[in-house]
Structures are given as structure tokens and as C-alpha cells.
Amino acid sequence: MSRLQVVSGKGGTGKTTVAAALALALATEGKRTLLVEVEGRQGIAQLFETEALPYEERKIAVAPGGGEVFALAIDPELALLDYLQMFYKLGGAGRALKKLGAIDFATTVAPGLRDVLLTGKACEAVRRKTKQNKYTYDYVVMDAPPTGRITRFLNVNDEVAGLAKIGPIHNQAQAVMRVLKSPETAVHLVTLLEEMPVQETSDGIAELQAANLPVGRVIVNMVRPAILDETELALAQGGASRTAIAKSLSSAGLGGARKGGNAERLVTPLLDQAAEYAERHDLEHGQRAVLAESGLPLHELPLLAEGMDLAGLYRLATELRKQGI
């Protein structure tokens, strides 16, 4: 298992949730993981039902078997000051730069510098060791930018190394790229069984592979439960007699089966819902086939009927463990 787990996915597919569940799953059996947020949305704090995370590594959850999950919301501005400190001991000059708007510039406008800082910080956590010369974190899980931007985000150091041809930034950028392009890293893509997210996932895989970035797994999130089996689908799509269904409904206590009766009036809407289910079922089947073409390991996580909460997160983590992550 790679030590840096990058989780991306189209907006709305639940990549923050999956990243958090993955961090929990990897932390079981006494392991220690760091969950990193790079987009400043405080999605992790919301998921774990804690107050907003500061720019520091903080324990947010305990996993079954004594594992621990730490979280870090990277603030690009503070990360830049860190970075300056690391290379130049620029304390005062750093503050002066801040006054001049240089920090703003570097973290919001300057090409890629923001992304350099974010990936750099994550790689630093991956490589960090304790005094006993053990890795501080067994795994680092990054809740990364969406699929549309992930390749550029991870590859930014290549570009920076090209722009700054010498100097410490150049060296730092190259060191980060060595981690990102090695088997130490795996980039996972979260998707839904819908056309647009699947299309974006396929495009994302192709882009990542073209950039020599290591693609890990495809995680299909919010998979709806199978309620009708194939026989029932076939019956609902024409095999079954409407009168028989009305009668069956009536016998279950839902009113009259005669035309206009309460049970009879349920037949059409119920069959309509079944037809919709069938249409979605076919679509999902097709999308699964598209995803299978990628040849990557596929995982599926269930849609949680009561919405996402902390208990749901632990359920998803257990599910990931069961599926061999």
C-alpha cells in the first residue's frame, strides 16, 4: 500500500468523505494516518463534527484497534511562511513580504506556487520521521482538488522545476516530484455511477497516466441498494398483471383493488417508479462496464440512507477494510 494516498473525484461525488473513510480504514490496527485538506473548505471538520481545523496536525479520531487519525487543513499562506522559514530563516523578511502583498501574490495569483506549497507540505509529512527513525505517519491521505484539476495540481512541481531552473525551489520541486511519481504515491478517483462523473474519471485516468502519475483505484461512491432483482425487473416491465398487483397490494392492507380503489391507484405510480429504477439500473450497468475498461481495481461504497454522519463514516471505513484496503 502506497504511503501517500491522494483522493480526487468530480465535484459532488463525495471525495472528502471517501478520503476521510480511507484515513480511518488505514488507521486500524494501531496505525497512524494523517488526513490532509488542501482546499480550505473545512470539509474534514464538518465530517468529523469538530470545530474548524487550524493549520496544525491534530488528532481527530480513533480507529478500531487503537489506530489514530490526525488531520491538517493546509493554509497556503502559513505554509509559504513555513517554507521560507525552512529555507532561509526569513522570519522578519517573511513578514515584510506579507505586508507587501507578496504572500497573497504567491498563494493566489502566481502560477502554481500555491499548489507547490500544498503538495510540498503533504510530501514533507510523508517523509517525516520520529527520533526513533520511524515514519511519523504510516499513511498520509490527501483530500485533493477535483479530477479536472488533479493532474495539473500534482504535476505543478514539474512545471515549476522547469520555470526555476536552478536554486532551492527547483530542488524542492524535484524532490516532491520524485515522491509523487513513485510507487509511494497512489491517486484514487471517486466517482458515481453516472455518465458525467464516469466520463471525467476516464479522462482523468488517461491524463494521470500520460503524466506518469501513479493511478491507484476507482472508488464508486453512493451506490444505491439493489431493490429489484432481475426476475422482478422483468416482471415489472411487462410480465406482471396490473390486476394481480392491485390485488396483492389490497391483500397487504393497502385498500381496494377495484378500479379507483386505493390499492389500484397505487399500481401505476409504483410501476412508473420501477420503470425509472430499470432505466437507472441499465445506465449504471453500462457505466460499470466503462469503469471496468480502465483495468483498475474497482470498489463500491453504499449510499447511506440517512445521509452522511460520523457513524456513517465509520461504516464506510469498515466497508473499505472489508474490500481489502
Binding site: 468530480k10 465535484g11 507578496a102 502560477p111 502554481g112 398483471s241 390485488k247 391483500s251 405510480p269
Partner: protein
């Protein structure tokens, strides 16, 4: 018909999109919201509807899914509005046209440079490595260029309605923040520092400042590597004359967004995260004096059998299951005559709804499939229905929360489609649902 003012969230104000897009005074509609809620589809559907109702419309999309773009015939990314064929004008609403374009960030940036710098200078900028990566689009550039393009389209005055889709940002707010950030950078002292080596003169009064500046450029040089700093400095020097223009245009576009002819539509799905983002955005628009027309709630589910609750459906399904088990245990599924079945049915029904007994008892039992198979199917249909009703309840709770926080926001709900949209007919359906407003129950 104004709904009565009430704390009951059921009385949410209804957003009527047709008067909005029909009003000749509406010149710009901005669709914003977090990723994955159907912003682009909403923008395209609104544009199509407005065009078919007689307006001359251009839809500016930022990053459309390939098939949606193809549905409007804009698979070429060439930064120019293209006429969309196949619109079906509503009777009596002639003259409508639909144009669509996909934003090419780099091309837009290049055009600004070409338009505002003389040939040689433009060449120097376009060839600068720093410029090349800036314009290829890192955080913030896309938002800025979307605003820039909107300003350009508006200035051309060829269309009477511009529908804009906003970039798929990490947060919906980026769209409003980016131009200001770029503006404050361009106005900032940093620019002057970067330009300092090129401008260091011998003026005594500037001496102190220059010491500070060279210290700063020294630090920057060490950090970035001398050659990158030189690239940045040449870039800044070459762009110097254009900065004023950037600032002016960013300000102008910002004012345009506040003008009465602009309407913001916040797009969301009835999910907790999407509606939380929508609430942030609503608050932010109010703080910036930007005119909010309302909330478009996409992918709302309905049911034709809403009178049957999830609990009752599940209980009924269980009832049918149990009987199936009894039948199997008795081993006489085949042997059971319709009369016997009706008899059993009667007893069950009597226990729950006496009113139903009479009808059930007199109904002629149906022909095959065998009762057990039908019961099994019926139980499955009921479970499917229960799932739908639970979904409905969940969606209702999230909507109620939003409505309680923002009762002033008018809402239109768009019923969920089982599949994706990839042609004009699909967009038209979405448009019809947008206009139908608050009645997704009839929708599938």
C-alpha cells in the same frame, strides 16, 4: 397569487423563471453554485428556453461535459460564440437565436494582451515563460477570464441576453473573489518592487525605499532562482502599461454584475453540502449588493404515490413476505386455489383497513403469474417506494433548513431525470421543469 407570509417552510417563495428570461431588461443571468449540481446544464437549458421564447441569447460555458457541449454543437473550443441549430421557436416569439461558446482561458488572456499592447511588446509578453504558465490557468485565472469574457460579450451588445456558467471552483465564492484578488495584486506594492531593478534611479528621496527593495528582490532572487525572477520582472515590465486596463475592466465587470439588468441564480441539489454552499453564496451576494433572482434546486425527487408513507409501504411489504414464507412452509403454493388466496387476503385486510375488505373480497382473482411471484414483485415495488419516500423526506428536511435560514429566497425545483442530458430535447425538458417551478411531484 402571493403565498401568505408564514414560518412554515412549505410556503417558500416560488421563482418564476419565464418572466425573468422574458423581461427585456434582464441582460445577464449568472448561474453559480458548487461543483456537481448541474450548473452548466441549467445555464444551457435556460439559454435554450429564452431563445425559443424569442430572445437573442449567448450561453458562455466554462467547462462543459463533452456530450452536453456536443448537444449544443460546440465541440470546438475556439473561444467564439457559435450559432446553435435546431431551436424550436414558441409561437408568436420570432427572432430568437441561441449562440454558445466555451471559454478558452489562454486564448482570452492572449487576446487581451494583443488588444492592449503594441506588436513588439505583445510578442515579448506572449513569449515570456512566466506569462505562459500564468495564462494556462492556475488558481484564479479561470475566474478572472470568465469575468473578462463576460465583459467583452456585454460590450459587443450583439445579444440581448447573456447566460453565464461559472467555473467549477472548489467553492462557489471563488468566482467573486478572484477578480478582486488579481486587482489588488496589480495595484500592489509588490509589482513596484519587482520592477525596481529596472527603474532604480539616483533620486535621493527614493534611496531608503530602494534599499528595502533590493533586499527584497535579493531574497526573491535567492528563492526563485535568478532566471525566474528575471522572467517575472520582464513580464511585469512588459505588462506595466496594461495593468491599469486590467484593473479598470475588472471594476467595470464587477459593477456590471451589480447592475439591475443582472440576475444571479444559485444552483444547488437538495443535499446538505450543496445547500450549505448555496446559503454561503446567498449571504455573500447580499453583502456585495449583487442581485439574486433565486435558487434553482436541481434533481428533486417526487412520487406519484406520495399518499403511501414509507412506513406503511414497508409494513405491507413485510406482510406479503411473511405470507410467502407461510406458503412455502406449507409446501402448497401451487395447490392454493384463488378462492383460498382471497380468503387469506380477507383476513389480513380486515385486521388493517376494514373499508378495503369489501372491495378485496369481491375482486376476481387474477390469472398467473402465480400469486406468490406477484406478491414477491409487489413487495419489491413497495420497498422501492419506501426508499423513494425516505429520499423525499431527506430532501424535504434539507430544503426546509435552507428555507428557514433564507425565507426571502425564491426557489424553483427541477425534477430529477433518471439519465443524463445530451441533446436539445433533453435541455428543453429541463427548461420546462425549471419553468414549472414548484411542482416536481408530477415529474418522474
Amino acid at each position: 397569487m402571493t403565498p401568505p407570509l408564514s414560518l412554515d417552510p412549505a410556503h417558500t417563495r416560488i421563482l418564476d423563471v419565464d418572466p425573468l428570461i422574458d423581461d427585456p431588461k434582464t441582460r445577464i443571468v449568472v448561474c453559480c453554485g458548487s461543483g456537481g449540481v448541474g450548473k452548466t446544464t441549467t445555464a444551457a437549458a435556460l439559454g435554450l428556453r429564452a431563445a425559443e421564447r424569442g430572445r437573442k441569447v449567448v450561453v458562455l460555458t466554462i467547462d462543459p461535459a463533452r456530450r452536453l457541449a456536443q448537444s449544443m454543437g460546440i465541440d470546438s473550443l475556439d473561444n467564439t460564440p457559435r450559432r446553435v441549430k435546431g431551436i424550436e421557436t414558441v409561437e408568436g416569439a420570432d427572432g430568437g437565436e441561441l449562440h454558445a461558446m466555451m471559454l478558452d482561458m489562454k486564448r482570452t488572456f492572449d487576446e487581451i494582451v494583443e488588444a492592449h499592447a503594441d506588436g513588439q511588446r505583445a510578442e515579448a509578453i506572449l513569449g515570456n515563460p512566466f506569462y505562459q504558465s500564468l495564462s494556462a490557468g492556475f488558481a484564479g485565472t479561470q475566474e478572472y477570464m470568465a469575468m473578462e469574457k463576460l465583459g467583452q460579450l456585454r460590450a459587443r451588445d450583439e445579444w440581448d441576453l447573456i447566460v453565464v456558467d461559472t467555473p467549477p471552483s472548489r467553492s462557489a465564492l471563488d468566482f467573486l473573489d478572484a477578480p478582486k484578488r488579481l486587482g489588488s495584486f496589480l495595484d500592489g506594492k509588490l509589482i513596484r518592487i519587482l520592477m525596481a531593478p529596472a527603474k532604480v534611479g539616483g533620486r535621493a528621496g527614493m534611496k531608503f525605499l530602494n534599499v528595502g527593495m533590493s533586499m527584497m528582490t535579493g531574497a526573491l532572487g535567492k528563492l526563485l532562482g535568478g532566471q525566474l525572477l528575471r522572467d517575472v520582472q520582464t513580464f511585469v515590465a512588459a505588462m506595466d502599461t496594461m495593468f491599469g486596463g486590467f484593473r479598470t475592466r475588472a471594476d467595470a465587470t464587477y459593477k456590471l454584475l451589480q447592475a439591475p439588468g443582472t440576475a444571479f441564480l444559485v444552483v444547488a441539489a437538495p443535499e446538505r453540502d450543496a445547500l450549505r454552499e448555496a446559503a454561503y453564496f446567498v449571504e455573500r451576494l447580499a453583502a456585495e449588493d449583487m442581485p439574486l433572482a433565486g435558487l434553482v434546486l436541481n434533481r428533486v425527487h417526487g412520487s406519484g404515490a406520495a399518499q403511501l408513507s414509507a412506513e406503511r409501504a414497508l409494513a405491507a411489504a413485510e406482510n406479503l413476505d411473511e405470507r410467502g414464507i407461510v406458503d412455502q412452509e406449507a409446501g402448497n403454493v401451487e395447490l392454493r386455489t384463488p378462492e383460498e388466496a382471497a380468503l387469506t387476503d380477507d383476513t389480513t385486510t380486515t385486521a388493517t383497513t376494514p373499508q378495503a375488505t369489501a372491495t378485496a373480497a369481491t375482486t376476481t382473482p387474477a390469472a398467473p403469474p402465480a400469486p406468490a411471484a406477484t406478491d414477491q414483485l409487489t413487495a419489491a415495488l413497495l420497498r422501492l417506494h419506501a426508499e423513494r419516500m425516505q429520499l423525499l423526506a431527506r430532501e424535504q428536511r434539507t430544503r426546509d433548513r435552507f428555507a428557514a435560514l433564507h425565507p426571502e429566497v425564491a426557489v424553483t425545483e427541477v425534477g430529477a431525470l433518471p439519465g443524463d442530458v445530451h441533446d436539445l430535447a433533453g435541455l428543453r425538458t429541463i427548461g420546462d421543469r425549471l419553468a414549472a417551478g414548484s411542482n416536481p411531484a408530477g415529474a418522474v
